[in-house]
Amino acid sequence: MRVAVTGSLEKVDPVPGSPSFSSWAQNWVFEPLARFDARGEFVPAFASRVEMRQRGQIYIELPRERRFNDGSLISVEDVEQSLRANGLRLAAANAGFVVRALDSKVPIEVAFARTLVFAMREGRFVGSGPFIVAEEVPSPDPEGTSLEFFENMDRLKVVRGPGRQTDSIIFNPALPKKERAMLARAIDSDSVRELAFGPGCPEALNRAAADSPVPPGRPLDVLGWGSMDRFALAVRRRMADRGGNADIEPSTEVVKRLQQRQFDLATTRILVWPSSMAALAWRTGSPGNLIGYSNPAVDAALDAGDWAAAQAALHDDPPAAFVCTHDRYAVVDARIKNPTLGPYDLLETLPDWEVEP
């Protein structure tokens, strides 16, 4: 199977949260212990049984006699090492095991969801997924791909699925809470969506009231990157007199400035589904929380697994304005009979696709 992706390409490894697009192939090579179903709840993947127990514990049972793709047997130690790489630990319990968190930076659900079963053999990672990596060939990045380009192509068809990330404007946490709340409502507007993304952009998941006024204050600069330049310009226009400079920088520079809080407003793409994943971006101390946002109410709700409460807390003290959740698309060989996009990882359902002869 050959897969073309648009974006940077690095070696496929079991490390979660890699910015490389090769991470799309992670789940085909390294099996997760569990997957999300369409409702955002766990279903067993490598594990033969997964149950949420009391807060902070997940009970799992492991299959017997499973092997990695190099033929070696998968041991409990391999699974334990895989969990440990994600800040989790494994303890035997009854016929199975209990998974607990080693630290409290991200909720156990998030770390567990990102755990892929792997082992290190002869200096390289091996997994138990249905595929192994044959080769990775970088090619020019066709940024700005138009779906129209793929229309009427005899051997291809376009598959569409709901998005899980929202193009957002992240605020410098140093801005006052009240101002951030007003900015969030002002920026989450149809005029910004129209200018930045054109017609057809579905409304953001957390859309605030439209046409809210921009609060008074000093001019705010907008930091943008890559294909988000129009988004940055649209936000600056929406800010009217408060619109400062629009700095379009490489993504690495943007990440750096976010971590150093050298920005006022910045374009970013935030994981918003399933709700539990909000913890990655917003829990205090989470590796995905680049700007160092901290909200005890959010942390408490996340730790309690109360996603609705976490959302409400984020709404009260918004770290960002959520503007546009794009649908996701894949272009696949027309001979594939039942291509569907996975609810979480874009192509996690790929092993189930059937190909017409």
Partner: protein
């Protein structure tokens, strides 16, 4: 040839004489229609290509006009950079709109050569070649700004041009292609060729696009990269360096013409069929009429010949009867001789008619060896020959000569020829019967050294009721009967004759190999 075959032949001649010109005209007409159909399709494709080129040219012009207007309106303002950056929000096809000058870092300059940048900064409008930015086309352009030494530059997003090319559809399968000046496919209405837009690989039409760029010509009929033979229209945009090809599979382009050609062809065949049917029907009617007429004529000629000959015989018999009524014994020898002669003559007369009643049938033909046949004939006529004091000689072929036929009729034909030869010969003369094989033919010849036949009678010698000897018992049925027998055996009869030197009759029949009779 029987009446049916003759009718068919006549009908075919009549029909073909009328149909051939019609068919020829139809073929010429079909060719004209076909060529005209091809030309019309090519003209239509050419027009579409030129129309597409015009639209693309207009679009590029609009982008440049917009950039010029922006440059003039904004570049002199204090917040020019910010306002230029915002232009992309209102004119989405313009991106990276910025002010440049001599100090602008290289990584912020448009995709122009240094000399073009210098030209732009000196107050001229310049633009790059089109290039691929991802899967979208783009072109960088600069135009003079208000402040000397500066220029406003932008990147034109030419995705709309790709859309325009992709939207061009001709009937069911026709499409348009756009190439840059290097022959690279930059937009494709054909989905199967669109991968080449990304890969940059040349396609079959690429060399023709380059030819067009270099003021050459591109073919209007070609084997497309899609694998189909197509008709094509081409247009070139000199300013942009693009070539536009609009293609349509020949099968589809000429579908209408082919339908018309098919209908015309069917019409011509129908007309030919009607012509043949009418011709056949009319020919049969005419033949029936002619045959009836011919029968009456034949009956008349037969009646004339019979009445003449029988009248002559009757006169002789009346004279003989008158001699008998004298009861003079001295007349008895003369009466006896006369009666014997008339009986012989009338017997031959009856035999000639009897021959006419026998129809040769190929299914009843048997192998006949001609050497044996002429020997039999020689023996049959020997008594008469002796009486007439004529020598009969049979010259055999070195080997057996076989034919397939009705032995009785073939012998009757040979006897007829020999009798004629004997009657034409003077006492003491010789009549020669001979057989030989000439390739695939078997020849039976009868030669005499008699008085010969006048040249003016030779052409009608084998016609019915025409005889060179109308004074005796000859109604003129002998030689026509020989000819009838020859034709029935797929053969022929011919004669060579010189007055005062004699005649040579040749019965020419298809020879058979004796081995063919074994089956």
């Amino acid at each position: 040839m029987n009446r049916r075959a003759l009718a068919m032949r006549l009908a075919a001649i009549v029909a073909l004489s009328g149909a051939v010109p019609v068919v020829l005209l139809a073929v010429i007409g079909l060719q004209i229609v076909r060529r005209r159909g091809v030309a019309a399709s090519q003209e239509a494709l050419q027009a579409i290509a030129e129309q597409a080129a015009g639209r693309i040219s207009n679009y590029i012009s609009q982008q440049r006009v917009t950039l010029r207007a922006v440059a003039m309106a904004v570049s002199g303002e204090p917040d020019a950079e910010r306002r230029l950056a915002d232009v992309t929000l209102d004119a989405p096809t313009l991106s990276h709109v910025r002010l440049i000058d001599a100090q602008t870092p290289a990584n912020q300059l448009p995709r122009l050569r240094p000399e073009e940048i210098a030209r732009a900064l000196s107050g001229h409008e310049v633009h790059s070649d089109t290039y691929m930015a991802g899967v979208s086309l783009a072109q960088d352009a600069c135009c003079p700004a208000r402040k000397p030494g500066t220029a406003v530059c932008a990147t034109f997003d030419l995705l709309e041009l790709q859309r325009q090319v992709q939207r061009i559809r001709i009937a069911e399968s026709g499409y348009a292609l756009a190439f840059d000046r290097n022959g690279r496919l930059v937009a494709s209405g054909s989905g199967s060729l669109r991968a080449a837009v990304l890969s940059g690989e040349p396609i079959a039409e690429s060399p023709f696009a380059v030819q067009l760029t270099n003021a050459g010509a591109a073919p209007q009929r070609l084997a497309s990269s899609t694998g189909a033979d197509v008709l094509a229209g081409w247009a070139h945009l000199k300013d942009l360096g693009w070539s536009i090809a609009v293609e349509q599979p020949i099968d589809e382009a000429l579908r209408g013409v082919r339908t018309a050609l098919g209908l015309l062809g069917l019409g011509a065949l129908f007309a030919l069929g009607i012509s043949l049917a009418l011709g056949t029907a009319q020919a049969r009617k005419m033949l029936v009429t002619l045959e009836l007429e011919e029968r009456w004529k034949t009956a008349g000629r037969l009646a004339a010949g019979v009445s003449h000959d029988l009248g002559h015989r009757l006169a002789i018999l009346q004279q003989t009867a008158a001699l008998a009524e004298t009861n003079d014994p001295a007349f008895l020898p003369r009466i006896r001789e006369s009666l014997a002669s008339e009986v012989s003559t009338l017997r031959k007369f009856v035999a000639d008619f009897a021959d006419l009643t026998r129809e040769p049938k190929a299914a009843d033909f048997l192998p006949v060896e001609l050497n044996a046949l002429i020997e039999s004939v020689r023996r049959s006529v020997q008594p008469q020959a002796a009486a007439a004091q004529v020598a009969i000689e049979a010259q055999r072929a070195p080997a057996d000569v076989w034919v397939r036929g009705d032995r009785y009729l073939l012998e009757r034909a040979a006897l007829n020829l020999v009798y004629n030869a004997m009657e034409a010969s003077s006492p003491g003369a010789r009549v020669t019967l001979s057989v030989r094989r000439a390739g695939e033919r078997a020849l039976l010849q009868v030669e005499d050294r008699g008085q010969g036949i006048a040249t003016d009678r030779l052409h009608s010698l084998f016609d019915s009721f025409v005889s060179t000897k109308r004074t005796g018992a000859h109604v003129g049925m002998g030689l026509p009967n020989v000819r009838r027998i020859a034709l029935a055996h797929d053969g022929n009869i011919s004669v060579l004759s010189n007055l005062g030197q004699g005649s040579l009759f040749t019965l020419d029949l298809p020879a058979q190999d004796s081995s063919s009779f074994s089956s």
